[in-house]
């Protein structure tokens, strides 16, 4: 064996491929172990986390060393082998996927045991492994054929995972909706690749299907735009960009929580990867308004996503909508980067791209953590509705603390990671000089303002999520026997929380590590950590303009916390517990607490026009003065407007067309024969 082929096996691509093989192997072996479910869970999730660990190693190596290596597998169709390639961009996404899947796989060891005795989990284990393998394959793929096959493996596996508890009608509906949207998206992606491949080598040859051929092709603007729009549509459907997000708040809540963590945390990121790959890498040069499209959809998704999230009372649904928001934020970064690239401002483009990608990594970690936390709550209480919860902080101390870390991170508060990426995003916006387009002069400040609004609303949203779930007292009728998450679950969450902290405290290391990605895609580095004590200060453009030190902020916060703890806890008697003052009114009960609907009411009043709200107050008995009701019922229903505006017309139109076409189908043989008879006659007349 020559050195190159040895390197192929031992280099990053070899490591990641062996991770994929390991995942396939455990999916294959799972049916053999179905008789001992407990062992199956332990073994297969252990091997999944081992595979993830391999993936992390391969990904970090690929990015850190700036390697690009390829592998051609003699699989697939004759003469169309599969091409695999790892480069820093792919390596980065592999790292993100594997970091989260490592935590989630450990968590699953505990979480999935909750199903023991209720239903067999073999199916879940198989599709979990296939799902992870599919995601890694998507990122590794270097030709359209393998990409689409992997994309479908990922989509199909996640469909079966959403369907796992298939006796409930809402699960079946959600899975079906997910499948439809995923397929429409996949068709758009297929068409986009078709356009690019066809123009790369002509429609007679199949050789254009490799990404290399697409990279080299110089597409005319009109066709490039078609390819981009199709790809953006397809990937946006997967990423849950508004208005293609409807499947997301349906599918994520009903899937098992470890799967929701992966779907929300990293599956959406494969779509982000696709957008970056197609625009920056495959197409390469583009006009500025492509970036504006991405930016505008990102802004809409960010603001609307967080507003919808605020309105939800289902904990996992809230998190799902919050994923829509975060995907929006990532797209804002990528869109801004595209705009800057097309105006030849590589430094800003690099900064915006780094911000977007860093946020993708951060979102994977904290959203994964939050979904795992929500899963622990669900596991302990069998409850998803926040209106029924409360006071869980006393019974679930670990989960509460870890969930709080997730909330702080996602609300973009220092010292955690969400702050760093959003801060970078603001830097990109604020440092941008006047762009040579009036629309952009409007769009950029507006974008910064909306991003700020999003951040504030996200903070409100997670104050609600944490406050209503964990604080106060139990709001339901009787509190179930709540138990704390077991050690494997805790380990998974602790690792995710630690990653959030490290990503927030030491951002310069990670940004230096991933700096090679913008260097390859937009042509320059941002060199965030220059100067003395460079690693301490994150200064994306210039030290005197703006800088941030996560470490110092963290140490400061730690100092304050320690000081407060010492002041309060060293002398006994400083804190004492007493009953709540009830204003002399009478006994307060748990139904009088501030609840989730009430918390979001002010925001519902302000932004109500964006939703389809039906609100009704019913007093019983009727006829009495409204000042003295015996009973008061309050109904509230909030719907997504996009259903009525976008989906319903399409659905109704397709039903209308099918009914029209259905009339042809008489059910009488004679009628069908007449159709063929007339066809033959007409053909004969015209072909004579």
């Amino acid at each position: 064996m020559d050195t190159e082929s040895i390197y192929m096996i031992t280099g990053p691509i070899g490591i990641v491929s062996s991770a994929i093989l390991l995942l396939f192997l455990s999916a294959l072996l799972a049916p053999l172990l179905k008789n001992s479910q407990r062992f199956l869970i332990n073994a297969s999730f252990m091997s999944a986390s081992a595979a993830s660990f391999l993936g992390i190693a391969g990904g970090i190596w690929a990015v850190g060393g700036g390697y690009t290596n390829t592998l051609v597998l003699p699989l697939g169709l004759p003469d169309l082998p599969f091409h695999l390639r790892i480069d820093p961009l792919a390596g980065f996404f592999i790292t993100v996927i594997c970091l989260l899947s490592f935590c989630v796989s450990l968590y699953s060891i505990g979480y999935i045991k909750g199903y023991l005795g209720r239903r067999p989990v073999t199916r879940l284990v198989i599709f979990y492994n296939l799902f992870l393998a599919g995601m890694l394959m998507v990122v590794l793929a270097d030709d359209a054929l393998f990409f689409l096959i992997s994309w479908e493996v990922m989509a199909a596996a996640s469909y079966f995972l959403v369907m796992f508890e298939d006796e409930r009608i809402e699960n079946r509906r959600a899975a079906f909706l997910y499948m439809i949207v995923a397929h429409i998206g996949a068709i758009a992606i297929l068409l986009s690749f078709g356009v690019m491949a066809g123009l790369a080598t002509g429609f007679e040859s199949f050789n254009g299907y490799t990404f290399d051929a697409m990279r080299e092709a110089q597409l005319p603007l009109s066709w490039a735009t078609a390819a981009f729009l199709l790809a953006f549509f397809g990937f946006a459907a997967k990423a849950g960009v508004i208005p293609l997000h409807v499947w997301l708040p349906e599918a994520h809540p009903v899937a098992p929580s470890n799967v929701s963590a992966l779907m929300s945390g990293v599956m959406l990121k494969t779509a982000i990867y696709g957008i970056v790959r197609v625009t920056f890498d495959l197409i390469g040069t583009y006009p500025w308004w492509w970036g504006a499209i991405v930016l505008i959809f990102g802004l809409i998704s960010a603001v609307m996503g967080v507003l919808y999230a605020l309105m939800q009372n289902d904990l996992k649904r809230l998190l799902a909508y919050s994923s829509v928001e975060n995907v929006g934020i990532i797209l804002i970064g990528i869109g801004a980067s595209m705009i800057f690239t097309s105006f030849q401002m590589p430094l800003l483009a690099a900064l915006a791209l780094i911000a977007g990608l860093y946020h993708a990594m951060n979102h994977a970690m904290f959203k994964g953590l939050l979904f795992m936390g929500a899963g622990s709550v669900l596991h302990a209480t069998n409850e998803r509705n926040m209106e029924q919860m409360g006071g869980l902080i006393h019974r679930m101390r670990w989960t509460a603390a870890l969930f709080l870390i997730g909330c702080v991170s996602i609300s973009a508060l220092p010292p955690f990671n969400g702050f760093v990426s959003e801060w970078l995003m603001f830097q990109a916006f604020l440092l941008s000089p006047a762009l040579p387009s009036p629309l952009l002069k409007l769009l950029v400040p507006l974008g910064a303002a909306l991003l700020a609004l999003t951040g504030a609303l996200a903070a409100a949203c997670f104050v609600k999520a944490f406050g209503v779930t964990f604080l106060g007292h139990w709001r339901g009728h009787h509190m179930p026997r709540v138990h704390e998450a077991d050690w494997p679950m805790r380990t998974g969450m602790i690792l995710a929380a630690l990653t959030c902290l490290v990503l927030g405290v030491l951002p310069t290391f990670f940004i230096d590590w991933m700096d090679i990605i913008p260097e390859q895609l937009v042509g320059t580095k941002i060199s965030a950590s220059s100067g003395v004590y460079g690693w301490l200060w994150l200064a994306p453009v210039a030290r005197e303009r703006a800088s941030y030190s996560g470490t110092i902020v963290f140490l400061g916060i730690l100092l304050v916390v320690v000081a407060v703890y010492i002041v309060l806890h060293v002398k006994p008697g400083t804190i004492h517990r007493a009953p709540i003052w009830d204003c002399g009114f009478g006994k307060l009960n748990q139904r009088m607490q501030y609840n989730a609907t009430a918390f979001s009411m002010p925001i519902r009043r302000i932004f109500g026009f964006l939703f389809n709200i039906r609100e009704k107050v019913k007093l019983t008995p009727k006829g009495l003065s409204p000042a003295f009701p015996k009973r008061l019922n309050y109904y509230l229903r909030i719907r997504d407007r996009s259903w009525g505006w976008l989906y319903k017309p399409v659905v109704e139109f397709s039903f209308w067309v099918s009914r029209r076409v259905g009339r042809l189908q008489q059910g009488r043989i004679q009628a069908y024969l007449i159709y063929s008879f007339i066809t033959i006659i007409v053909l004969l007349v015209f072909s004579r």
């Binding site: 008489q666 059910g667 043989i669 024969l673 007449i674 063929s676 008879f677 033959i680 004579r688």
Partner: protein, 221 residues
Amino acid sequence: MDLNIAAQLNSFLAAFVLLTAFGMLVQRRMFGLVHLFMWQGLFLSINTAIVGFVAGKHHLYISSVLTLSLKVILLPYILHVLIRRLKVHKEVEVVENIPMTMLMGIALVIFSYYLMSPVSQLSTLVTRSTLAVALATVMIGLLMMITRKHAVSQIIGFLAMENGLFFAATSATYGMPLVVELGVALDILIAAFIFGIFFFHISTAFDSLDVDQMARLKEED
């Protein structure tokens, strides 16, 4: 044999084939239909033998014998048995508007001649004038399937169409290669068996052989 006489004989038999096709279009009794089908097969078989003799294509004798045994003896026998077993031999099928159907058949014959006129001008074969008749037979078979509601008349319409195709093959190119003809013959045989089984199912499911009953299978909206 003189070529001229052969051409005349060929045209003569073609006329009979067409006549039986028209006969089947309006025949309302089941046994009558089967007998007409038998006659059509017989004319076809004789015609094939004559063409084979004139053109010196000896494999046409085999197809002639095949036609004779299959379409004149075996298939009519199967249909006979079927009709008796299903107890439909006394039924008289309602055929709507016979004059109109006949007129449509005539229109189809004219249409076929119109279609085939360029081909007949180019061809040098003895049988060139009968190509239009062959096409007309195919179309009349299809017309028969459209106008009839009884399952047995539908299958006979289908077989008549096949006769027309076979006739067209003989007229246009002195027959298809033997392998193809053997294959087609086998197909016809199997189709007849499948139709037989199918009839039994229709008649047990709907208590009738009227294919209009099958409209009940349609999904309601």
